[in-house]
């Protein structure tokens, strides 16, 4: 009875129920400034997906894929390959396989036994939003389609329209024409894939702020292994000790959670306001006074308060083999490594790609005490 009354009051007021708050960052996700303290290895606009291939580091940047060569703490970019569409993911696999996702277009096999193959449709539908790819073996690629009928660049709209049309496809490359089998559907913008122990697969589901574990071969329901994250999870990278690095590309905050529950308001906002100025998470912020959180309220003596609410943030979580966070690296509201979409451990350094700020920083893991200190 009391609970019913409380729910009725909450429905009337529109808040104060038990779904309106964003989780705090504490424990292993306690804020620090380690990303800002790390040296900038490379400044590169639109830098996105970092991956290891052939013992080298590759990254995507806009419509290019580049090879990165470490020189001390910095990186040098070379061998740029340019494509017609923006590259949404880079996946390396066995037998030197290399696949890339192209926004609104599909998948292109760049290297390996299936080089040159393109996949533009899955299940009879165009593959417009390939957000992540992972090789199970040289002939099998698993691909996340972020949202049906939308491009990856349009992620903010998908969130604000509360999209949950993402899907997971198992693609058999061995046939002359690749065949795709749907592995999961109704996902809320899947953005990251990684192999998990026991032949399982970890999938980050951004809009539901969680990581799911799938049995690769079976059709059983996925199990959440990490949920209620304080930011939107993106790509997952394996760590050499069996754990993972999880990139979280934008923060959750209470105002966005509130707006996400106010359908009429959100509809009017989507119809009338430039997406750059929506009350919504972003990869970078603070560039225009038209943004809904004004600098004046967030500053003291002209210094941006690091704890002030922000639309963008930089966050990488170091997780154990069961995906439990052990530690984290942050760039807070006043930082300059925002919108982290990808990271990769390479030569005992963690390279973190901040798409929002257009830079790659190199965290020396020996200096910061490793992944679980």
């Amino acid at each position: 009875m009391i609970a019913a009354l409380k729910r009725a009051y909450a429905a009337f007021r529109g808040f104060d129920d038990e779904t309106g708050s964003a989780p705090m960052m504490d424990g292993p996700l306690r804020p620090n400034a380690l990303l800002d303290a790390a040296p900038v290895a490379l400044s590169l606009a639109d830098v996105d997906n970092l991956t290891q291939h052939h013992g080298a580091l590759l990254c995507s940047s806009g419509s290019q894929v580049l090879r990165l060569t470490p020189q001390g703490t910095s990186l040098t970019a070379s061998d740029a390959r340019v494509f017609e569409q923006a590259v949404t993911f880079v996946a390396a696999g066995p037998s030197d396989s290399l696949a890339i996702g192209l926004d609104s277009r599909g998948i292109l096999m760049l290297e390996g036994p299936h080089a040159g193959m393109t996949i533009t449709e899955v299940g009879g539908q165009p593959l417009r939003c390939p957000t992540a790819g992972l090789f199970i073996d040289a002939n099998t690629l698993i691909v996340a389609n972020g949202a049906e009928g939308r491009t990856a660049a349009d992620w903010k709209r998908d969130l604000m329209e509360r999209g949950a049309t993402g899907s997971l496809w198992l693609i058999d490359l061995s046939a002359l024409t690749a065949t795709a089998t749907q592995r999961a559907t109704d996902l809320a913008f899947p953005t990251g894939l990684a192999h998990a122990p026991g032949g399982r697969l970890h999938v980050s589901e951004a809009w539901r702020h969680r990581i799911l574990a799938f049995e690769t071969g079976a059709t059983s329901a996925p199990q959440p292994v990490l949920s209620d994250l304080p930011a939107y999870p993106g790509r997952i990278a394996p760590a050499p000790d069996g754990g993972f690095w999880l990139a979280l590309f934008a923060p959750r905050n209470q105002l966005v959670e509130f707006v996400l529950r106010e359908d009429d308001y959100r509809r009017r906002m989507i119809d009338n306001v430039d997406p750059n100025f929506w009350i919504a998470p972003a990869l970078s912020s603070g560039k225009s006074f038209l943004e809904p959180i004004q600098g004046g309220a967030r500053k003291k003596l002209n210094m941006l308060k690091p704890w002030s609410p922000s639309w963008s943030y930089g966050l990488v979580a170091g997780c154990g083999p069961t995906m439990q966070p052990l530690r984290s690296f942050h760039s807070r509201a006043d930082g300059a490594v925002h919108g982290v979409t990808s990271c990769c451990e390479f030569n005992e350094r963690l390279y973190v790609a901040a798409k929002g700020s257009g830079r790659i920083v190199a965290v020396d893991l020996a200096d910061v005490g490793g992944r679980d200190s």
Partner: protein, 498 residues
Amino acid sequence: MSPILEFRQATKAFRGIPAIKNIDFTLSAGEIHAIVGENGAGKSTLMKVLAGVYELTSGELIFDGKPLHLKSPAEALARGIAMVFQETNLVPSMTVAQNIYLGEEQLFNRLRGLYIQAQRFLLSLNFYVDPMALVSTLGAGKKQMVEIARAVHHHARVLIFDEPTASLTPEEKFHFFNLVRRLQRDGMSIIFISHALEEALALSDRITVLRDGEVVATDSTPNFDRSRLVHAMVGRNLSSELYGSAQARKTRPYGEEILSVRNLSMGSIVRNTSFSVFSGQITGMFGLVGAGRTETMKIIAGVLKRDFFHGGEVRLKRRHVRYRTPRPAVVDGIVYVTEDRKVEGFFETMSIAQNIQIGELTTSENPLALVTIAQARQLAAEWTKRLGVRAIDPAARVIELSGGNQQKVVIAKSLIQKPKLVIFDEPTRGVDVGAIVEIHRFINELADDGIAVVVISSYLPEVLALSDRILVARQGRIVEEMDLSEATEAKIMYAAVH
């Protein structure tokens, strides 16, 4: 200034354990003297001796140059020594005037005359309080004025304030400070106990720092600053030997998030607080008295209720929970080991076996479960062995045990419920040194077994010795989180008082 009051080698022991030891303290006439120290430093014991609540075990109290032996608070008041407690001792259902003149009632009382008399008296003190108002309708500041008026009415020459500003708003504090200075100008000597170091520095003429029941520093206020005060309050060598070096210890890694508390609120005591607790770790919670730590944890354990509206949320393993009684919390795996074991921890006239058995019955799904005496005894024998409870017989009554063994029974009663989250509130309060080591070892074993453990403690070395991560509470909310590697006593205390 000549001393109006003096303690010489004053010692007060409880069951042989000294709460204050060989204290030498002087209060000059017309002086404001601040006494600061951690919880358990002996401030309140010293002042209760002065107020006639306790008698000294040894040493002497000199008042106006003559030895004084106070037997009761009434005698202290008659001598001109009054104490204003943090929780005021007024009768809330009576008016201001009735409270001031309490104990002086005639057979027939003329209320009108009483009110006129009270009005004149209050105005003479510049206290703008309605003498006809019920005390229950007054704010904290006005209540204190009434307490002070009562003390002045009894011709108090020494006025003791115990944490006077803890429940005051900033505006009320401002008025209170003016009031204290006015009382000083009128020749009253004032002792001011406070955790708020800024207040002690701003208001007092001299400061005495107590630690572990002894005076560690007394000096004029201008010779103190915040850092010297904090160092004097926390720098203890004895405890570092007892508890070891915190920095040398390896912390446990974070486990699964067991408890997530968001925006939890309960009146003005718990105010919009948020934190998480992880399995396989000890989360230490430090704060000064009144910081809302116990209340926060009692809400989680279903002992207290959070605000009905805007009370925040509690998630146990990602599941929303709201307990209205402790039993469902216990069934879900949350146990709270109370700080006040005599009132809330056990049934003192029942045996060890019965008390432990009650813990198990709480989680039993069958409320009419029958247990044989033999079963209860077996269970008690098992747990007394595991926890090292030193008792001749499990059938011994709990009241007959020492404080440490009583605490072990309370812990056994809780742990028999197979918890996922154990909250220890002041687990070693009133416990001898040997039992402290055993209780600490047991708490560590729980965390090593993967259970989420929260330890609330007002004793900094204990927090540092046990915790893997430390939360600091102040004024009803968690204000700081620290890893063990970065935590120091001074840092924690700084966060707790700022």
